[in-house]
Amino acid sequence: MFEDDETLQMYIEESLDHLGDIESDLLTIEEAGANIDLDLVNNVFRAAHSIKGGAGFMGLTTIKDLSHHLENVLGLIRNKELVPDSNRVSVLLKGFDELENLLNNIDTSNDVDVSDHIKDLESITKSSLPEDKQEMVSEIVDIVLQDGRVFPQVSLFEIEQYKAEGKNLFLVEYDLIHDIQRKDKNPIEVLNSLQKTGTIIDSRIDFDSVGTLSESAGPNRIPFQVLFASIIEYDMTETLFDIKKQYIHSISDDMIVSTSVTDISVEPAFMPSKEDQKAASVVVEVPEPERVLTPPAKPVIQETQKVKQSPSKEEKEVTISAKPQTSLRVNVGLLDTLMNLAGELVLSRNQLLQGVNSSNVKATELSSQRIDMITSELQEAIMRTRMQPIANILNKFTRVVRDLSQQLGKSIDLVIEGKDVELDKTILEAINDPLTHLVRNSVDHGIETPMEREQMGKSGTGKIILRAFHDAGQVNLVISDDGKGLDPDRIAVSAVEKGLISEQQVDEMSEKQKIELILLPGFSMAKEVTDVSGRGVGMDVVTTNIESLGGIIELDSTPGKGTDIQIKLPLTLAIIPSQITSVGNERYAVPQVNLNELLRIPAAQVKEKIEKVGDAAVVRLRGELLPLLNLSEMLDIDTTYLDPQNEDELPDRRQNLADRRSRQNIITEDGVIIESPDQEKEHPKSDDPKREENDRRYHARSAMNIAVVSAGAFKYGLVVDQLYDSEEIVVKPVGRHLKKCTAYAGATIMGDGKVALILDISNLAQMAELSSVSEAGQIAKAAEEEAMAGKDKAALLTFKNSETEHFAAPLNIVERIERIQTSTIEQIGEQKVVQYRGGALPLYELSQVADFKALPEREQQEVIVFKIKNRELGLMVTPPVDALEVALDVDEGTLKQSAISGSMIINEHTTLLVDIFEMVKILNPGWFKEDAKVAAEMAESGEKILLFAEDSAFFRNQVKTFMEEDGFKVIEAEDGLIAWELLKERVDDIDIVVTDLEMPNMDGFELTKRIKGDPKYSHLEVIALTSLASEAHIEKGRKVGIDEYEIKLDREKLMKMIRQKLNLTK
């Protein structure tokens, strides 16, 4: 093989370039069918041809053979002798794939067996020819010159083709030494310029006539033979080729001599001896000056010609060789911009230096502004050089989908949208594999066979949409198909079978969570392993890959309708927006992609909000237990170790730290690294008061700053000392000694020149064994829920009257919570009102109805707005106002008084439950006059009797009271079973059944089922009372025949519903 690295490299690069477009061109050709677009075919033909031309000269026999056969087929297509149907195009595609493969592994290319490809191609060629010519296709001839030298192994078929086109054949003999090297040319260029005037059939270096080094004259000629077909006449060739006529041989028929070798694919036709190779490489090994200029000049041409070119080239390298790309094509315009910016930067630097030297503040300021601007532009421009259109990888999916759907007998349309969305080259390379996997999945598992589809009433042709778009500074990639979708339950069953999760876990999962089980390692749904997918290593690898890029993957699927997979990726990895935090006196960056929200718990609330589950701290965030990870705690141990100054004091310090750690996990000041003596002095001071506290939770002297972060499935709170700004940081790699510190994703340099570490959120979670923490949290939550399950749960709004008086009211009757300025409150007689939404809102406070303290005077006033009898009223309260879900365990006796229905313990405070209804009644008896009238009428016209089943005495009394107030008669039952017995006895009296759902002995569902299942009772309407109506509950209730759902403490609605059901009008 030819051994001049640079020439070879150039050849490979050029060839790959040629191949870049071929795939999409071929697919277009296939689509067009018999209606051939000559330009396109010519494009592909020329590509094959150029590759062949160079290969001969380089001694790359396999490549030469393969491209030659490809060229033959393409030539026939070009001459409209062949129709490019899908089979033929498939063969061509495979051939070009192999060619690319060979080019990428050029060193071993001659040893690759491509006979299969060649056989296929030959059979296509032959099939288009008349019988008598078929033989010619594989026939090989030698060309014998007058002086007896031989140009061996030329395809007769090709020669005949050119002759048929009326072209003249020449054998041009360049001399590598005199004609090429001495003239500062290079063989590839020579070949390229020849291409302009004709066609190169073959080229080779005639090593046989070089002679050996031992010969006295030495090698003074290295003939570089080119077999050339052109319309140009022999006379003109001298000027054209720029060599002496004696080296140009016109080839006549008698010079073409048939050889016996016919099977060229098996036996490499031409292998120069080792010696020859050396000779060749010695001579040609001169770097050509033009070479340097060629690469940058190219992209411009390409961009204008065709945007797709460089893209597909890159994509190939990504798919075929695992090696990351080491060179990148950059638009010359962009390079010019960079150069300009660099120039400006230098100028500004000079100005800055001058300004500084002459102490000219104004000039310094100006130039620093300029530098600031230029830097931003420079940054942007440099980033742009790395940005590549996503089309690079998306385009190839046309092929992937085409091949796969053919293989699987499916019919699929692929729609690609947003091809010009640009992504950083590194990210682009890295998402190629995951994306391929996802697309293959969609084709294999997503889209059904045409038959299945038609049975389901869908069009036989499936559709896969690949969509890329920008959103919120991230690149979104959506792969959606209209296939069969994912069945959450089947996935769950599979996952349980594989032992990935327990059945118990499944019960608690939402549909979406179930679907996302397929992202677990080891998960596979495929009943059998196919070529395409189903090995159980798939989605988890995809997830890992995407997450390692700082991306997120989300699944959404509707069974029968299709699946959407959404991937969110950062634009670039080099510069990332990050939240800067600090612990001790070091800053740490938290990548924004991992950050969900920032949480600050005021000192006063730290105690109540932070809980301990086992050893782990958790915070309750919107009803979820969020495990907390204290960064300072994780880091201070080692930091202390590290500090050499404190080496001697180490045991002492450690004790001190351990001490502090148990009492107080947040170290507000520098509690970690003690370097200066005055800081040391500070410590006892700040520690002393804390030590007095006998609280093993977080100490409550400082607010707590939490960055809520998520790493994959994990979500946790990272406790830090301070939260600073969000900044764009430049990720810099850390040295090899720190590679094993997995807590960091890298380092960055802050504005002040100091280094800050970038935290690796998912590794931190692993280090802290957070999984167990979060499990502990979940167990605690589950236990809590279990404890609550037996009791009635209710959503309550808690508030205070005076600082020490805690109250709660049912959340469902609360309209809004408002904060008003005290100064806007108007006093009208006894009544306080505030202008509110165009009307006057009457304001009350609890001290008006019961024996409570008056509200403390404040500038602002929190008002809870209730709506009763279609009128709004405001209750003035003292914050904090908070919504909670609690198990009702009400003590009705101890603290009973007017407008208070009972008391219970909420968050360690005795909390009184306000009966808003009663309160309004006391305050505004007029509002209820009408009710009283209705009740009286009802009592007159004959009593309506309600059967009311409820296990909680509190609720039973509450509900019964207001039912009776409205004129109903109530039969009470303590559980479902009692209700059932009562019903059997008094079925004729009872007009309607109102039941609680969760009751001992027999629950509301069972009761309803019995009522509805027995014709004797089934005419009765059943209204279920729940404290919390969940979708699942409602669904379950509907199934057994519950007619309506009402919420226990919503008196008005319940009564309205009862009336409606009994056809009572007000």
Binding site: M634, P644, I673, K732, R736, H737, L738, K740, G753, K754
Partner: protein, 149 residues
């Protein structure tokens, strides 16, 4: 990477010498990128104990190693004589924090003797050899060995 081998040629070699944990050591000057006194070091919790931290050296992140600890001697005592010797190893800049620097010593390769198994409490494997001068012994450090993780 610069050469660290000490050949048999009689060529003059230059060694930058410095003190660490009371011992005088030397590094072939060709291995040294620069010597500075930037100590705005960022601690790296959880790193090996001999890692002093990381430093911004003109936009590069440089790991600073406490040479005293690395060699199993006393940790470098923080004072005004401290220096970072920045060496280049495997395309990476690494800083060696030393107690203080001393002269550049010229020596002939043949004057360097093989290192004994232990020099002043430091394992012999860290040294390429010892150089005897009129006044004292200089342990010539094997940078590759010292910088092993």
């Amino acid at each position: 990477m610069a050469e660290t081998t000490i050949g048999t040629s009689s060529q003059d070699l230059e060694f930058s010498t410095f003190y660490v944990g009371g011992a005088l050591c030397g590094i072939n000057i060709l291995n040294i990128q620069e010597i500075n006194k930037h100590f705005d070091i960022t601690q790296v919790p959880q790193a090996s104990d001999y890692i002093e931290g990381i430093l911004n050296l003109r936009g590069r992140i440089v790991t600073i190693i406490d040479l005293g600890k690395k060699l199993g001697l006393e940790p470098v005592n923080k004072d005004k004589d401290n220096r970072n010797i920045i060496v280049n190893s495997d395309d990476e800049h690494i800083g060696l924090l030393v107690d203080g620097i001393s002269d550049v010593v010229l020596a002939k390769a043949e004057n360097i003797e093989p290192a004994p198994s232990n020099i002043g409490g430091v394992k012999g494997k860290f040294f390429q050899g010892v150089l005897k001068t009129e006044k004292q012994l200089i342990g010539i450090l094997d940078i590759d060995e010292v910088l092993k993780e």
